[in-house]
Structures are given as structure tokens and as C-alpha cells.
């Protein structure tokens, strides 16, 4: 993949051995240097992880204990917070809405972006460079600045208060970057591959489906992960387009729950833990792909 070549590690990682490991860890380091490095790292870890653990521990406290015992561990396990938050905040419906919106948007995005990226990288036709320039220009325009006309267009087309409607708009706003990423994957495949298939009598569509797609799977995964994070976490578009509470996605529903009810702090903690932990667990399991997906936007230039 061409745009990753610049960040390939130049240093070879030595095979793991505990002797070398400790030597490497301590080599040429004074004690004060080690204290400084690990001290700073400890601070970073605490400020990153402690707030998250705090939510987890708060979600198991009773309403009174949340205020009486702010940063300690819970004295018992108030599991009923979870069942009650699930019911009161309507979390099941919110998760369903988020799944419908995200899955529809991603399916549409891949279906539309893949052939377009193929055409822009592998086919020769007039106007190709103009279209490419348009794609790059669109990547530089943050869609948020045209929120008002986008809302008006969605309203005219009957796409306000529609999960499919917001999914279509998500797919459209992720389109330029996705085409750009997929195109670079197509470009990295050798031309001989396609020529051989052509000689065997395969049509362009067959080549795309049977020869190319399996080979650009990492690119499709990258687009999926990048799009997933954007769409699953989106607040702004949902805030504009999903006015009906029954259609709210998780981020919108969480904020509405928090602003609507009084001081049900323990339930807020439980609602946040329930909706956030699955994403963190998925991230920890697939962190390599996630980090690559999220930094793809950075490396694209």
C-alpha cells in the first residue's frame, strides 16, 4: 500500500528474549531517567484510564453512594442500575437504531465506493482527472459547514426522521475519503493480473468481483473501520436529522437521557458504561486494525 510506505518501522524488532529485554530496558539509562520516564507514563495512564474506571465503579454504586463516595470503589454491586438504566433510557431501541443506521450506511458506502474507486484507478476515460480532482477537493471541505443546505435537501427529499435517510447521507459524506483510500489499494495491484484475466475473456465486472475484490480486502476493512467510528459515534448529523426520540441513535439518546431526567447519577453511569464498554472491548480485540483505520485519514496525504 503506497501511502503506508512512509511509516514502515525502520528498526527491526529483535526476537523476544527476557535477557535482551531487561538489557534493552535498562541499557544506558540512569535511575533518575527511568524514574522520570515511568513516572510520566504513570501520570498519562492514570489520566486516561481512571475516568473510565470511575464510570464503571460509579455504575455499581447506589444513588446516595455516588455523592457520598466520589472516587472510591463501590461498597456493593448495585446491578439493578443496569436493568433500570436499560429500561428508562430505552437503550435497546437506541442500540437497534445505531446498528440499522451504521450497517445500512456502511453497506451502501462499500457498494458505491468500490466500483467508483476501481474505475478511477484502472479504467482510462476522458474526464478522469477532473473527477479525481473533485474527489480530492471534496475531502478538504468539512461537511459540517454546509449543515444548513444539507438539512434542507434532506427535508425536501423526505429524509428527515428516517434511519435510512441519515444512513444515505452518512454514506455520501464518507464517500470521497473512501474512494481515495480504495483507489490507492487498487493502484497497488500489478497490472499483469488484470491483463491475464482479460486475455482469458473475463469482463471488467468479473475482474472486479473475482480477481480484485479478494485482493483489496485490507482496503475494504480500512474503509469499514474508519466509517464505523465516524458513523457509530456521530452526534451532529443525528442531532440535525433525527428529531423523533424513537429514532435516536446511542450518542443522541445518551445526551437526551442525561438532559431529560433529574439527578439519577447512578443510572447515567450505568447507561454510559453499557454503551461504551462494548466499543472499547471490540477496540482492544482489534486494536491493530482500529489504529490503522483511524490514522488512515492522517496518512492519506
Amino acid at each position: 500500500m503506497e501511502h503506508h510506505s512512509s511509516i514502515r518501522p525502520a528498526r527491526a524488532q529483535p526476537p523476544f528474549s527476557s535477557h535482551l529485554f531487561w538489557k534493552g530496558l535498562l541499557a544506558g539509562r540512569t535511575v533518575s531517567e527511568l524514574v522520570l520516564v515511568y513516572g510520566l507514563l504513570a501520570i498519562v495512564l492514570v489520566e486516561t484510564l481512571y475516568p473510565l474506571l470511575w464510570v464503571l465503579s460509579g455504575s455499581l454504586k447506589t444513588k446516595e453512594e455516588v455523592i457520598a463516595n466520589v472516587w472510591g470503589l463501590p461498597s456493593g454491586f448495585a446491578w439493578q442500575n443496569y436493568t433500570e438504566a436499560w429500561r428508562v433510557a430505552g437503550i435497546g431501541a437506541r442500540i437497534l437504531n445505531s446498528v440499522v443506521v451504521t450497517a445500512t450506511a456502511l453497506a451502501l458506502l462499500l457498494l458505491v465506493a468500490t466500483p467508483a474507486a476501481y474505475a478511477l484507478s484502472r479504467l482510462r476515460f476522458r474526464g478522469r482527472n477532473v473527477i479525481l480532482a473533485l474527489v480530492v477537493a471534496a475531502m478538504l471541505i468539512p461537511p459540517q459547514v454546509m449543515a444548513i443546505p444539507l438539512f434542507m435537501t434532506a427535508r425536501d427529499l423526505g429524509l428527515v426522521n428516517s434511519r435510512i435517510g441519515i444512513a444515505i447521507i452518512h454514506a455520501a459524506s464518507n464517500l470521497p475519503l473512501s474512494i481515495f483510500i480504495l483507489r490507492s489499494f487498487f493502484l497497488s495491484l500489478p497490472a499483469e493480473l488484470e491483463d491475464a484475466a482479460r486475455i482469458d475473456g473475463a469482463s471488467r465486472l468479473q475482474i472486479l468481483g473475482k480477481v480484485m475484490l479478494p485482493l483489496i480486502r485490507p482496503g475494504l476493512a480500512l474503509v469499514t473501520i474508519f466509517g464505523f467510528i465516524e458513523i457509530w459515534n456521530d452526534f451532529f448529523l443525528a442531532f440535525l436529522l433525527l428529531r423523533d426520540p424513537a429514532l435516536q441513535t446511542i450518542p443522541l439518546g445518551l445526551v437526551a437521557f442525561f438532559q431529560q431526567y433529574g439527578s439519577m447519577w447512578n443510572l447515567y453511569f450505568a447507561a454510559l458504561a453499557m454503551t461504551t464498554l462494548p466499543v472499547i472491548i471490540v477496540f482492544v480485540l482489534m486494536q491493530k486494525q482500529f489504529i490503522a483505520g483511524l490514522t488512515a485519514g492522517a496518512v492519506k496525504s
Binding site: I7, A10, R11, L25, A27, V37, Y38, L41, V44, L45, E47, T48, Y50, L52, I67, V70, W71, L111, V112, A113, P115, A116, Y118, L123, F125, L140, I141, P142, Q144, V145, M146, A147, I148, P149, F151, M152, I168, I169, A171, A172, L175, P176, I179, R204, L208, W232, N233, F235, F236, F239, P251, L254, T275, T276, V279, F290, I291, T295, G297, A298
Partner: protein, 301 residues
């Protein structure tokens, strides 16, 4: 008719295939990107409540922006946001990357841990921090009490003088891991031999950083700044909306929140659209300016 269509589909020349492959993307892109962009330009030249017939008023909306104290205040907040966020994210991100680049114990898990906030939605991050800042059961004031620093306790989001800075801290917290990972990828392309040679020549840690790390990292710094720049300008709606909704008394208003209020509370679509394009113009100009500055500083080195 049908035979003609099948004949066209059977044609396998590049231009025809490309047209078919690009058509879905072209439809999505035109409807939800190109058309709203052009339509918004038109709307910004009118007085329009979103329902009755728009009245063309030329550039009056743009002229009005220059005298609107609330807009200028929001723009000033935006600029404070941009400058502080770029500074903090890059200095802290590079610092964290340098820490992580060392042969430290548990580097993989630590890198994953600092990346976790990046995967959270702005809604979740905002809610979490609105509780951390909460005067009743908030983590921050409780921690200050615990450290015997009760005098420093503040109403973090309620005090007009500091609310903006409290929000900036949240944004930096969320994105620090992202910038650190990008810097880490850059640091790993610097060959060890360079540092080795400098060490033999007697260069200390500070000199090595100034003369090797920093110059070689300039392209990565540029990527990080450009990425953070448009983000700091336009992607702050969610976090401000969740934490303060622009309050207290517009102290944390940014252009995006003011734009949404103008459109959907005051029903002034033309004026709101003009804000969007003015912001876009400012982002584009800042990018160009920054790229120019960067290019010049590179020549000097």
C-alpha cells in the same frame, strides 16, 4: 429498447464500464455534497426562514457577520480553541510518542490504553467530563479536596472565565492518543544510527532532539496540524453542545453552535448558511497560510 440496453451493458470498453461504475457514486455525491454546497451558497445570499419564499439580499448576510458581536465572540472562541488545541495536542502528543518510542515495559498495552479515548464518541466523552467537572459529585473537585487543594475548587463549566478552557482540556484528552500514535509512526522511521552518531559526537538529549528528531519530524508535525486545524474549527459542535451548549452567557459559543442556533432557534437560514461559508473560508485560508509558513521554515533548515 431492451435489446439496446443489453447491448450497451455488454459493451466492455473502458468509458462505458466507467460510466456504469461511477454512476451510483455520482448520484450520491451530487445530491448530498455538490448540490447542498452550491445551494448553501445561494441560501447565504438570501433572507429565508426555511419555509416561505427566500428573498435575495446579496452579500448582506456576510456584511452583517462583521458587525455581529455574538458571531465575532464565537469566532474569537474558535480561534482560542484552535491555537491552544493545536499547541497542546502537538507538544503533548510528540512528548508522549517519545516516551512510547523507548524500549519500555508493556509498550503495546500502554499504546492501546492511551488510544482508547479516541474510539469514544464525543457524546460519551462529553457526558463523562461533564460529570468529572460536576460540582456535587465530580471527580476533579473531589481529587482537589483529597490533595488538600480545596482552595482551587472551581465551577469548571459554570464559570464564564474558565469554561472554554475546561472544554479544551476535554478535546485534548480525547485526541492525545491519536496524535501520539501518528508521531510514534513517524519516530520509528528515524534510523537509530543517526542518534548513535550524534551521541558519539557528544550531543546531549536536548541537542539530539533539536537537530535530529524535530527536523525529521516536520512533515508529521504538518500532518498533525492540518488534521487538527479543520477539526478544531468545525468539529467542536458535539463537545460544546454536550458540555455547555455554548453557555454560560455565550462564553463557550463557537461558530458551529451559533450557526445551529441561528438556523433552528431563530429560523434564519440565510444568515446561518453565511456563517458556515465564512468559517469554511477561514479554515481554507488558515490551511494555505500554514502550508506557506511550513514550506518557508523547511527551507531555512
Amino acid at each position: 429498447m431492451l435489446t439496446r440496453i443489453t447491448r450497451i451493458i455488454r459493451r466492455d470498453d473502458d468509458a462505458t464500464v466507467a460510466a456504469f461504475m461511477l454512476a451510483p457514486a455520482a448520484v450520491l455525491f451530487s445530491l448530498f455534497f455538490l448540490w447542498p454546497f452550491l445551494r448553501g451558497l445561494w441560501i447565504s445570499l438570501t433572507r429565508w426562514d426555511g419555509f416561505s419564499a427566500p428573498v435575495f439580499i446579496g452579500v448582506a448576510n456576510y456584511a452583517k457577520l462583521l458587525g455581529d458581536r455574538l458571531f465575532l465572540g464565537a469566532l474569537e472562541n474558535n480561534l482560542i480553541f484552535v491555537v491552544l488545541i493545536l499547541l497542546l495536542k502537538n507538544v503533548l502528543g510528540l512528548g508522549l510518542a517519545i516516551l512510547l518510542d523507548r524500549a519500555i515495559f508493556l509498550r503495546g498495552p500502554i499504546r492501546a490504553a492511551v488510544f482508547i479515548p479516541v474510539t469514544l464518541s464525543f457524546a460519551a466523552t462529553g457526558l463523562l467530563w461533564s460529570w468529572i467537572y460536576n460540582p456535587v459529585f465530580g471527580l476533579l473537585n473531589a481529587a482537589l479536596d483529597g490533595l488538600g487543594l480545596s482552595a482551587l475548587k472551581l465551577s469548571w463549566l459554570g464559570d464564564a472565565d474558565i469554561a472554554l478552557y475546561s472544554i479544551i482540556v476535554v478535546d485534548v484528552w480525547k485526541w492525545l492518543g491519536f496524535h501520539a500514535v501518528i508521531y510514534l509512526a513517524g519516530l520509528q522511521t528515524i534510523p537509530d544510527e543517526l542518534y548513535e552518531a550524534a551521541r558519539i559526537d557528544g550531543a546531549g538529549a536536548v541537542k539530539r532532539f533539536r537537530h535530529i528528531t524535530l527536523p525529521l519530524m516536520m512533515p508529521v508535525v504538518l500532518i498533525n496540524i492540518i488534521l487538527g486545524l479543520s477539526g478544531a474549527f468545525v468539529r467542536n459542535f458535539d463537545i460544546v453542545q454536550v458540555l455547555t451548549q455554548g453557555g454560560p452567557n455565550h462564553a463557550t459559543e463557537v461558530v458551529m453552535t451559533y450557526m445551529v442556533k441561528t438556523a433552528f432557534q431563530d429560523g434564519n437560514m440565510g444568515y446561518a448558511s453565511a456563517m458556515g461559508y465564512a468559517l469554511f473560508l477561514i479554515v481554507a485560508l488558515s490551511c494555505v497560510l500554514l502550508l506557506g509558513l511550513m514550506r518557508r521554515s523547511k527551507v531555512e533548515m
